[in-house]
Amino acid sequence: MVLQMRVTMTVAKVLRVFLEDPAAQCYGLELMKATGLPSGSLYPVLARLERAGWVRSSREQIDPAAEGRPPRRYYELTPEGLEKARYELAALAEQLRPPGHRVPRFPQPEGGHA
């Protein structure tokens, strides 16, 4: 997907929760609790991630009458999203890392073989 995804702090918080268990599916309220973001910030981020193909959503498969509640919409990382999210978060972490801490094997933007 060529669509550029700007990973802001808000986006990063959401991705962080997804990455804790890449196979898990989360619904909005759960993400709100985990990230501390209000509904007004979270839903636009989810929509943007969904459009960029990083996450996808599907409606829960339950019988509302039997469960006594309406079906939720679950979000999960796509394989592409999983890869990109890890990459972007690692890049962000590198930018924000206090000086003096080095982590091996992380990409250096400059130098080397470029």
């Binding site: 997907m1 509904s39 007004g40 929509a47 829960e60 498969q61 990459y87 690692a90």
Partner: protein, 459 residues
């Protein structure tokens, strides 16, 4: 005197009852309002988004609100505050959500997941799910991971590779397992191995004795540049190559000779590995854009004779490399902002590249652009050789697979599938399509292509 007391007593009693009833009614009225207010705000938010998204968004919000307020029956004020805070946020953000989603919600999956069944994870896929009528002509089987919170996490399918013969697929799952499937039926034959994390990329070598895989490491918060090599028969890992791709390894390709593995990643270098000695033999250097995000290489494709390695990446160019001299021989600039898919035709005469706008067909010998095709946003291209004829199957985010006749440079069939296409492999005349945590297989029949072509083009 006593009559007055009795009247006073009765009046007091009636008055107290009336007040009690009124208070009760008022409380219930207030509670009704407390419950109605957030829902009412949500309905208002629904009004603010285009009709195409209204129902799905409103349903989602209403379900979340219901869940948020669940179990707070005896705390009406907290309920009101929480409900209002949630609903007000949604109300403010509604238009932005709709704008971010764009005109069509591509990954929305209502029609498919509603029909899904809840089979246990390790049962052979799809006797039950095959009965799903997707309205697809030629569909042989389909597999769909079950959307169910945390219960179905291991049945999410990430990648598919063509196996040693025309009857096996290697399938990489998000739970780290690599499984072998019978390509003809979509049934699981064996669990080959279990790796450390979600399998992101998997490929067989030419004689199918070895498998290479890229795995996301669950535990590690730095990105992994390692590539796993496995024995294809036993699934035993034979080596873990530390590729040194800064920013993780991303794509893999075995040379048709089978002894060289090409890897690339976010750093724009392409490295060639000797798969018996597990040593790097060469590094192809050419992506030198200043911004290192621009260097990212998405796709690798060997020419069928193995003399040329084609690479495509974020910068939109296709580069051809001589695999013996390890030099870049050509740079093909197409009309796409980035190369999403890259494949040689089965006979090697055409190199197809695509992105969000056009599919370009190149003559790999001269580097000339043969044709730009309006093929929609193509994600993946897969060569197919069926009964002596060469085809390219191109699948995209628009849920469409187009089959191109290589000799005629013509689209000869259009197949609509339920989800955006992520990847495809062709096994014999079976096209295996990976999409939305699952896969399906479609039998390609060149005879029906021809009739389709006649009707489509009016030839």
């Amino acid at each position: 005197m006593s009559g007055g007391v009795i009247i006073g007593f009765v009046a007091g009693l009636v008055g107290a009852t009336v007040v009690g009833v009124l208070t009760n009614l008022l409380t219930r009225e207030a509670e009704g309002w407390i419950d109605a207010l957030p829902s009412w705000l949500l309905r208002l938010a629904g009004r603010r988004v285009p009709a195409s998204h209204r129902d799905t968004l409103y349903d989602e919000w209403a379900a979340e609100l219901h869940h948020a307020l669940h179990g707070m029956d005896d705390r009406p004020l907290s309920r009101l505050l929480l409900g209002l805070r949630y609903a007000a946020g949604v109300l403010c953000a509604a238009r932005r959500v709709a704008k971010e989603l764009g005109p069509v919600r591509h990954s929305s999956t209502e029609e498919f997941s509603d029909a899904g069944t809840n089979e246990p994870v390790d049962t052979p896929p799809l006797a039950g799910r095959q009965s799903l009528d997707l309205g697809l002509r030629g569909m042989v089987w389909s597999y769909q991971a079950v959307t169910q919170k945390r219960a179905g996490d291991s049945d999410c399918l990430n990648v598919v590779a063509r196996g040693p013969d025309s009857s096996t697929l290697a399938v990489g799952f998000r739970d780290g397992t690599v499984r072998l499937w019978d390509a003809a039926t979509g049934r699981q034959a064996a669990i080959l191995t279990r790796l450390d994390g979600p399998v992101m990329s998997i490929t067989y070598n030419a004689d199918s004795t070895a498998l290479a895989a890229i795995v996301v490491d669950h535990s590690d918060c730095v990105l992994s540049d390692e590539v796993w090599l496995m024995d294809a028969a036993s699934g035993q890992p034979t080596a873990r190559l530390t590729t040194g791709h800064r920013g993780a390894a991303k794509v893999l390709a075995f040379s048709p000779g089978g002894t060289i593995l090409a890897t690339s990643g976010y750093d724009g270098t392409v490295r060639l590995w000797d798969t018996t000695a597990h040593q790097q033999t060469a590094e192809l250097i050419g992506y030198n854009e200043r911004s290192y995000r621009q260097r990212e290489v998405h796709k690798l494709a060997y020419s069928p004779d193995g003399t040329i390695l084609a690479t495509g990446g974020f910068d939109g160019t296709v580069r051809l490399w001589d695999t013996t001299a390890h030099q870049q021989t050509a740079e093909l600039t197409g009309k796409n902002p980035g190369v999403e898919a890259l494949a040689y035709s089965p006979d090697g005469t055409i190199l197809a590249s695509s992105g969000s706008r056009k599919m370009s067909l190149w003559d790999p010998a001269t580097g000339h652009l043969l044709r730009d095709l309006d093929a929609g946003p193509v994600n993946t291209i897969c060569p197919a050789a069926i009964r002596g004829r060469a085809f390219l199957a191109a699948g995209g985010k628009d849920r469409t697979i187009r089959i191109w006749d290589v000799a005629a440079l013509k689209c000869c069939s259009v197949i609509s599938v339920p989800h955006p296409v992520d990847a495809m492999v062709c096994v014999g005349d079976l096209l295996v399509v990976r999409q939305h945590s699952g896969a399906l297989a479609i039998k390609l029949d060149p005879d029906s292509f021809d009739s389709t072509e006649t009707t489509r083009t009016g030839r």
